[in-house]
Symmetry: C2
Subunit: 100 residues, 2 copies
């Protein structure tokens, strides 16, 4: 199976990866998926001094979801966020690969 993505989707994938906070969220979700917004905020606060507001992290999660890099589902009043590596693989196979 090979999914073709348009330039705009490639734009979105690379732009989304171009922010250290969002890459860090992906790294967190690779360790363990199915995390809530609050858990992600807590991980950030626990790790070091630089903690961002809940709403800011939420915006980053929205962008990650728009890029397809995370998948969400509701469990009661909690929305869980899980990693989805497909866009990275598609971006690599479709464009980046030829330079590696």
């Amino acid at each position: 199976m090979f999914v073709y993505v348009h330039d705009e989707q490639l734009d979105l994938i690379f732009k989304t990866l171009g922010d250290a906070t969002r890459r860090r969220i992906l790294d967190l979700l690779q360790e363990r998926s199915e995390r809530s917004l609050f858990e992600i905020c807590a991980s950030f606060a626990a790790a070091d001094g630089k903690s961002l507001s809940r709403q800011t992290i939420s915006q980053h999660l929205d962008m990650l979801e728009r890029a397809g890099l995370i998948i969400t589902s509701w469990k009661g009043r909690t929305k869980t966020h899980s990693l989805n590596v497909a866009p990275m693989q598609v971006a690599t196979n479709q464009w980046l690969k030829k330079y590696l």
Copy 2:
């Protein structure tokens, strides 16, 4: 040899790749390197309707150079631009690889 790059450099590399115009410039330079700004503009104009101004392309080239994705050298009054794939390889080896 393994060059460690900081988060800020990873940011810059991915952000730079997150624009279709810049990816297209890289694709052009992979076909043939050592191209001048004017040659790149001409390629854009020849390919299709959507042609950007010389200064706009120049700004994209500046960003590509800051990210290390192109290397430049002067030949008389002409500045030539060549592809440098190292940053893509570094970004892949240092961060992206674990998701592929």
